[in-house]
């Protein structure tokens, strides 16, 4: 095992899969010669050359259209949309074409592709470069949605996403590119749709994703130490497929559910999970379900304001400790 950063794990997973399968090709803006604006794809151009790793114009619709056309005809493209905010300029290709093609054609069209994108706030980039839009993706039938919380998961889940026969939106957390952890050497694949119980506990279930996971873990430590509360922290890893069983199992044990999400409040993924619990776990719940979210407001740029908006360790501690 070596310590890799989250960004190094991206390149490691891509290289791993590009070595074993020459149908895997990669395109995006500034991704090849420059190795990406987040430096997450450094080295791929040198290893795999200009036919497999390609710089594109600023044409997101063409990037994703090209990826879809290639996927339909036997390749396994990976496309980068630099910031997830930019999905808005190519959303049609994602939701009306890529997500629906197989169903509309009665199973004929294949779209095995991955769209990687930098997601989330904390970098003080302002409202158009800081959004968490994993809930947009979850709302569209036909897309798989992955959002890893650490470098090891990046490697394993990105490899699985590339191998997956369905289209995957792979959200990389911009604020975590520099974070490091032990990452298994050699071939490493984590199946999609299996949540990770990051902390075991008995009093409250905290469901989190991506950057919210380390915050939830930290909060769980504080809640244990300062409030004597035993929290179970579930790292969802994927929104689709959703590992509902892990949530159900945990809530049956704890009787309490808190979700921590970075996307703005309304129709966030936490609402979906809350609604599942409110329907299927009604008789198991001992207290109201609580959602911790970014408020339903565009993100401010400056640190002091952005930090008020995105869920913090403090907010999680306070919310959980004040639950009924």
């Amino acid at each position: 095992m070596a310590k890799l950063s989250y960004r190094e794990a991206v390149a490691a997973a891509m290289a791993q899969e590009m070595r074993r399968d020459d149908r895997v090709i990669f395109l995006g803006e500034d991704v090849a010669k420059a190795g990406g604006v987040f430096k997450a794809t450094v080295g791929l151009y040198d290893e795999f050359g200009p036919l497999r790793v390609r710089d594109t114009p600023i044409s997101e619709q063409a990037i994703l259209g090209a990826a879809m056309g290639a996927a339909m005809t036997g390749l396994r493209p990976i496309a980068e949309i630099m910031f997830s905010d930019f999905f808005a300029v190519c959303w049609d290709t994602v939701v009306n074409e890529i997500a629906k093609a197989r169903y509309m054609t009665n199973g004929q069209v294949e779209t095995p592709l991955v769209i990687r994108s930098g997601n989330g706030g904390g970098a003080r980039f302002g409202a158009q470069h800081s959004q968490s839009i994993e809930n947009w993706a979850m709302a569209v039938p036909g897309l798989k949605v992955v959002a890893p919380s650490n470098a090891a998961d990046v490697k394993g889940l990105l490899a699985a996403s590339i191998r997956d026969p369905d289209p995957v939106l792979f959200f990389e957390q911009k604020s975590m590119y520099g974070t490091k952890c032990e990452v298994p050497d050699g071939e490493y694949v984590i199946p999609l749709g299996v949540a990770n119980v990051a902390v075991e506990g008995t009093d409250v279930t905290i469901v989190a994703l991506a950057a919210m996971v380390p915050k939830a873990i930290k909060a769980a430590e504080i809640l244990k130490a300062e409030h004597g509360l035993s929290c179970e922290v579930i790292d969802l890893r994927c929104l689709v497929p959703l590992d509902t069983q892990s949530i159900i199992k945990s809530v049956i044990k704890t009787g309490r559910l808190v979700t921590v999400e970075e996307n703005p409040r309304l129709c966030g993924w936490g609402a979906e999970i809350a609604s599942i619990a409110a329907e299927e776990l009604f008789w198991n719940l001992d207290a109201p379900i609580t959602r911790i979210t970014t408020p339903h407001i565009p993100l401010a740029s400056v640190d002091v304001l952005e930090d008020l908006m995105i869920p913090s360790v403090d907010r999680i501690v306070k919310t959980v400790s004040e639950m009924d």
Binding site: A62, A66, G69, M72, Y103, M104, T105, V109, L242
Partner: protein
């Protein structure tokens, strides 16, 4: 401003090929006419966008393309699909929402697709398929297969962003893709000239992508065949993309029962005189060795074909309920959770 030109006759057709081209157009015509009639009889569910008047383009490309080439087209794509071997029964069955339909009713009139024949989809969001066609061409180039992607779209489509992105993309990567703008003079109800900065929406923009302007008579099957062959061969031989503007006209409304009252009578009359099927038929009769009987026999065949297809579609039941819930994912199912 571009003017329509005749391409040189580099790819001569013999009489049997000419008859084949006529047969193709005749098939398209009766198929579309039948779709219209069935719609008026309330036997078509949903909508239709028909291609009467534009058959020369679909047929000429159908003749020029190889079996493993890719076709990308729009909601107005019945002819293009049929030209790639999608049967009349599959088309009419789909329109009528029968189990025998090409997509068993899951896609409908606007989404005909038959991947095994290279008919890579009919797209109902304006412009969406232009980059996708570039992607298929990129894939062919990468795989080294010499396949060509042909992408059909309308005049109105030249004003949406994807047109621009796709053309630039195709050129810089020198992709084997042929973009065919079927300029039928209207978007839905609005004349294209009212909303476009140049007189020829595709040809006058070719230079913005480093491409040669190509403006041709889309109602002349021979012209279209030469144009198609030239562009396809260029693409196949590594010469990169072509953008073609083919001037044509739709004989009927935009969709469904649209009576197309927004078009000046004179204009309609003028264009009806330029009916590509009628005119090609007449032209063939002036060629030594082709007789009325040859054409009549084609017409009869084609009529029989469409009647048979209509019967087959009518006799097919609606699709079974359970297929509503299949094929969201590659595993055949629709599960998003455990």
């Amino acid at each position: 401003m571009a003017t329509a030109k005749k391409p040189p006759e580099k790819y001569p057709l013999d009489n049997s090929e000419r008859l084949d081209l006529y047969r193709k157009m005749a098939q398209c015509r009766v198929l579309q006419q039948r779709a219209y009639d069935l719609f008026m009889q309330n036997l078509v569910k949903g909508t239709t966008h028909l291609g009467q008047g534009q058959e020369a383009i679909a047929a000429a490309f159908g003749q020029a393309m190889k079996e493993d080439d890719y076709t990308f087209c729009t909601y107005r794509g019945h002819n293009h699909n049929h030209m790639r071997g999608v049967t009349m029964t599959e088309v009419l069955g789909e329109l009528m929402g029968r189990d025998i339909g090409l997509l068993r009713g899951k896609g409908g009139s606007m989404h005909l697709t038959k991947v095994e024949n290279g008919a890579m989809g009919s797209y109902a969001i304006i412009g969406a398929h232009l980059p996708i066609a570039a992607g298929a061409a990129w894939s062919a180039q990468y795989r080294g297969t010499e396949q060509v992607a042909v992408c059909f779209f309308g005049d109105g489509t030249t004003n949406i962003g994807t047109f621009h992105e796709a053309l630039n993309f195709a050129k810089i990567w020198n992709l084997p893709v042929v973009y065919v703008c079927e300029n039928n003079a209207y978007m839905e109800y609005t004349p294209i000239g009212d909303v476009t900065a140049v007189p020829n929406p595709a040809a006058d923009r070719a230079s913005a992508y480093g491409l040669e302007p190509i403006l041709v008579d889309g109602n002349d099957a021979d012209v279209m065949y030469q144009t198609a062959m030239t562009a396809i061969e260029k693409a196949r031989n590594g010469g990169g993309p072509t953008l073609i503007e083919a001037l044509t006209y739709r004989h009927h409304g935009h969709s469904r029962a649209d009576p197309a009252k927004y078009r000046p009578e004179e204009e309609v009359k003028e264009w009806m005189k330029r009916d590509p099927v009628v005119n090609y038929r007449a032209k063939l009769l002036t060629i030594a060795g082709i007789k009325e009987a040859d054409l009549k026999s084609i017409d009869d065949d084609v009529e029989a074909m469409v009647n048979e297809a209509t019967e087959a579609a009518k006799n097919s039941p609606p699709p079974p309920d359970e297929i509503a819930f299949t094929d969201v994912w590659a595993d055949g199912g629709a599960q998003w959770r455990n």
